[in-house]
C-alpha cells in the first residue's frame, strides 16, 4: 500500500478531531484489555507459556533457513507447490501468475495482513481479477475503500451507523441497523462469493516444518470456506511463520488467542496438509504456498531480529495509549501501533516512517503484554538513534539535545543553569504558578499549561538533607 506514515502528525490531528472515530475507539479501549487480563488470570501457566513461546520463536529464527527447506520438502512431497518471493513486487507477480494460470476472474480472501503488506488487492484489480475480502471487518473496509486500522479487527474504527450506511449503499438491500441483521446480510452476500471464486487466498498463522502443514486461525470460519470451496488455494506467508512440529504450534496457539481477544481458543484452528486427496469429497485440487521475505531476512542478526518473533496478536496496540487515542489509520502504514512502529521503518524506510518510533510514551505496556516478549520500546529507541545518526531529527531537537548533552557532561554548569532557570521561571510564573505560553516550549504549551518550578531542586534538597544527617 501507499504509505502515509510521513504525515503522521497531520493524521493524528485529524484522528483526534474525528468524533465517530473517538466514539469507536472508546469502545475498544476497555474491552480488549480486560478480556486479555481475564484470560491470563484463568491460566496459571500463562507466563510460563509466554517464556516457552519466546524460546520457541528464538530457536526457529536461529535455524530459519533449515526449517524453511524442511517445510518446502514436505509441501512438495504432498503434492503442493512452494514459491519464493524476495519482495512485494515478486510476490504480487507470482500471485497474479497463479490467478491467470487458473483463469481466475474472482478470488476470495480471508483476512491476511501480509497481502496488505504487498498491496495485493490493487494489483489483482489492475490485472482484471476481483478480490473479495470475506472477514466481516475486511468486507466492511473493502466497501468503504479503506485500509485495516487494526491487524485483528480491521474495522474497529467504524461505528454501527457507518457500517449500516455502507451496507445499504453496496449490498442493494433495504437498510438494516442492528448488529445481528448486519451480520446476517454480510453472511448472505459473501456466501455466494465463495461459490463464484476460482481461487481462495489466505495468509498463514503458522507453517509446520515437520508436516508441511499450514495453520489458519479464525473466529468466523471464513478461512475454511475461502480455502475449501474454490479449486485452488494459495497461501501467502512471511518466512518467519515457521514452527518445527505440531506440538510447537500449540505453544504459540495457547498464547495467541488469549493475548489477542482474551478467548481461551479461537473458534477455528485449521491444519491443512497438501491439496485434496483423490477420495476426499471436498477441498482444493491445487495448493500453492508463497514464502515472502520482503526485508525479513535482513532483520536476522540485527537489533531488530526479535521483531520476527511477532505472531500478530495485536495486544501491543490494544494496550497502547497512542494507538487507542489515534486509531490505526493515523500510522499511515499496514501495521499500526507499537509493532508497526518497529516494523514499518524496516519495510518503507526510516525516512518515510520517522514519526512512528516517536509515537510512544515509552510506558512499556506493549512489552508487558507481548506474548513473545518482544522488547518493543527498546527497538523504537534503536530507530530513534538511527534517525539521529542519519540527521532526520529536526534541527531544533538536534541542537537542543546537543546543548543538553554539553551541559549534562559538566555537572557544575548543569546545576548552575538549572538553578538560574528554575528561579527565573518560578519568578516569572508568579502567583499563577504556570505558563499558558512560553518561547521554545510551544510544543508543550500548545495543548496544556507548563507548571512553573517551585522551591528547591532535588539536588539542593538532597544536599541539605545529607548536611542535616551528619
Amino acid at each position: 500500500m501507499q504509505s502515509t506514515a510521513h504525515a503522521f502528525k497531520a493524521n493524528v490531528r485529524a484522528a483526534l478531531a474525528d468524533q465517530p472515530l473517538q466514539q469507536a475507539l472508546g469502545m475498544a479501549r476497555t474491552g480488549f484489555q480486560q478480556k486479555r487480563a481475564d484470560a491470563a488470570a484463568r491460566l496459571p501457566e500463562f507466563e510460563a507459556l509466554r517464556d516457552a513461546a519466546k524460546a520457541l520463536k528464538d530457536h526457529v529464527l536461529g535455524h530459519l533457513d533449515l526449517y524453511l527447506e524442511a517445510f518446502e520438502q514436505r509441501v512438495v512431497e504432498q503434492g503442493g507447490k512452494v514459491h519464493w518471493a524476495r519482495d512485494a513486487a515478486e510476490a504480487r507477480a507470482i500471485l497474479i501468475d497463479l490467478c491467470q494460470a487458473a483463469g481466475a476472474r474472482t478470488v476470495t480472501k480471508s483476512k491476511s495482513m501480509v497481502t496488505e503488506e504487498i498491496g495485493l488487492n490493487e494489483a489483482l484489480e489492475t490485472a482484471g481479477i476481483r478480490p473479495i475480502e470475506t472477514d466481516l471487518g475486511e468486507h466492511i473496509i473493502q466497501l468503504a475503500g479503506q485500509r485495516p486500522s487494526h491487524i485483528l479487527a480491521p474495522a474497529i474504527h467504524m461505528t454501527k451507523e457507518r457500517i449500516s450506511a455502507l451496507f445499504a449503499e453496496h449490498h442493494g438491500r433495504p437498510p438494516v441497523t442492528q448488529a445481528p441483521e448486519l451480520l446476517a446480510e454480510a453472511r448472505a452476500f459473501l456466501r455466494q462469493r465463495y461459490f463464484e471464486a476460482d481461487i481462495g487466498i489466505t495468509g498463514a498463522n503458522f507453517l509446520v516444518a515437520e508436516t508441511g502443514s499450514i495453520v489458519l486461525v479464525t473466529n468466523e470460519g471464513n478461512a475454511e470456506l475461502t480455502q475449501g470451496l474454490p479449486k485452488v488455494h494459495v497461501v501467502l506467508a512471511g518466512i518467519e511463520k515457521l514452527v518445527p512440529t505440531l506440538e510447537d504450534a500449540f505453544v504459540l496457539l495457547r498464547v495467541l488467542a488469549r493475548s489477542a481477544t482474551g478467548q481461551e481458543f479461537s473458534a477455528y484452528t485449521t491444519v491443512l496438509t497438501g491439496p485434496k486427496r483423490p477420495a476426499d469429497l471436498d477441498g482444493p485440487g491445487e495448493l500453492h504456498v508463497v514464502l515472502l521475505d520482503n526485508g525479513r531476512a535482513g532483520m536476522l542478526g540485527t537489533e531488530f531480529q526479535d521483531m520476527l518473533r511477532c505472531i500478530r496478536c495485536g495486544a501491543c496496540m490494544n494496550h497502547c495509549p497512542v494507538y487507542l487515542a489515534t486509531g490505526g489509520h493515523a500510522y499511515g502504514s499496514v501495521y499500526p501501533g507499537p509493532m508497526g512502529a518497529v516494523l514499518t521503518p524496516g519495510l518503507v524506510g526510516i525516512e518515510e516512517a520517522q514519526h512512528l518510533p516517536n509515537a510512544s510514551t515509552f510506558c512499556g505496556r506493549c512489552e508487558q503484554v507481548c506474548p513473545v516478549r518482544i522488547p518493543l520500546p527498546k527497538m523504537m529507541r534503536h530507530w530513534r538513534e538511527e534517525q539521529f545518526r542519519r540527521q532526520l531529527t529536526p534541527p531544533t531537537a538536534r541542537y537542543g539535545l546537543k546543548l543538553w548533552a554539553f551541559a549534562a557532561r559538566r555537572p557544575a554548569l548543569y546545576h548552575l543553569g538549572a538553578k538560574v532557570t528554575s528561579r527565573l521561571l518560578g519568578w516569572l510564573g508568579g502567583r499563577r504558578g504556570r505558563f499558558a505560553s512560553l518561547p521554545l516550549a510551544g510544543g508543550w504549551t500548545g495543548s496544556r499549561d507548563l507548571p512553573a518550578p517551585e522551591g528547591q531542586s532535588f539536588q539542593a534538597l538532597w544536599a541539605a538533607r545529607q548536611g542535616r544527617g551528619r
Binding site: 530459519l64 519464493w84 474497529i156 448488529a179 505440531l246 506440538e247 473458534a267 535482513g298
Partner: protein, 236 residues
C-alpha cells in the same frame, strides 16, 4: 529473475544473517533430529483429570463458548435426539450426514429424518458429522477430513451437529497429536479444531454468532463404545 534465484537468494540472506554462511552438516543434523523427536511442550494442568472429570470440563468449556452439549447412552438414541433438536429449533427434518460407521449404524431409517450422504451444498441447512476427539482444556472438537467426512459438513450448514464418543474426550490438543503419531499415518488434508460456533466481533466488538460458519453448534456426546473400526478409533 527466475524462481530459483529467489529461493537461493533468500536462503543465502538467512544463512548470512544467522551464521555468516550456509549451515554446516552438524546444524542440519540438529534440525533433522529436532523434527524426528518432537520436544515435550508445556501443557496446562487444567485438564489433567480422569475421564469423568474431562467430560465435565469439556462440557463446561464448550458451553462457555455458546456450543450446546447433550449426553446420550449410545448411538441407538441418536436419531430421536437429533429429531428433537431439529424440532426445538424449528428446523426441517432433513440433514446431510457423514457416511461414518457410527452414524450409519444408528437407526436413522426408522426415524422421520431425511438423510443424505455426500458432498455438502449451499442448500443444506443442517450437517451431522463425527469428531475424532474432544479437547477438555478448551471445549474444542477435533474434526478430520476423509472420504466419509467432508470438511464442509461442519462449516457450510447454519446448524452443525457433531457426534463425539465420550471416551474420545482427551485432556489437551497434544493428546490428539500423540494419538495421530501412534497411528504412523500421514495427516488428513484438513484437521479442524472447532471451539464453539462461528463468531465475529467486528461490529463494535459485540459478539455475534454465525459469521460464515454455523450459527449453532450442538455436540452429541455418546457414551457407549462404538463398534470396532469406526472413524473415531484412530485417535484412541
Amino acid at each position: 529473475m527466475t524462481a530459483g534465484d529467489a529461493r537461493a537468494e533468500i536462503l543465502a540472506r538467512l544463512g548470512h544473517g544467522l551464521r555468516g554462511g550456509a549451515p554446516g552438516a552438524e546444524q542440519r543434523q540438529g534440525i533433522v533430529a529436532r523434527l524426528a523427536t518432537p520436544a515435550a511442550t508445556l501443557i496446562p494442568s487444567r485438564a489433567a483429570l480422569d475421564q469423568a472429570g474431562r467430560i465435565v470440563l469439556f462440557t463446561r468449556q464448550a458451553e462457555a463458548v455458546q456450543a450446546s452439549v447433550e449426553r446420550l447412552p449410545g448411538p441407538a438414541e441418536l436419531p430421536a435426539a437429533v429429531a428433537a433438536y431439529l424440532r426445538r429449533h424449528n428446523l426441517p427434518m432433513r440433514l446431510v450426514m457423514a457416511r461414518d460407521p457410527l452414524l450409519t449404524a444408528a437407526p436413522f431409517a426408522a426415524s422421520m429424518i431425511q438423510v443424505r450422504y455426500g458432498p455438502v451444498v449451499e442448500a443444506d441447512a443442517v450437517g451431522l458429522t463425527v469428531a475424532l476427539a474432544g479437547i477438555a482444556e478448551t471445549g474444542t472438537l477435533l474434526l478430520a477430513s476423509s472420504t466419509e467426512r467432508p470438511t464442509m459438513l461442519a462449516f457450510l450448514p447454519e446448524t452443525a451437529l457433531v457426534v463425539l464418543p465420550s471416551r474420545q474426550v482427551l485432556r489437551a490438543y497434544e493428546d490428539a497429536i500423540a494419538a495421530w503419531r501412534a497411528t504412523g499415518e500421514g495427516l488428513p488434508r484438513s484437521l479442524n479444531f472447532v471451539t464453539g460456533p462461528s463468531r465475529s466481533g467486528d461490529i463494535e466488538q459485540t459478539l455475534q454468532l454465525g459469521a460464515h460458519g454455523p450459527r449453532r453448534l450442538h455436540i452429541l456426546l455418546i457414551d457407549e463404545p462404538a463398534p470396532a473400526g469406526d472413524g473415531a478409533s484412530d485417535a484412541a
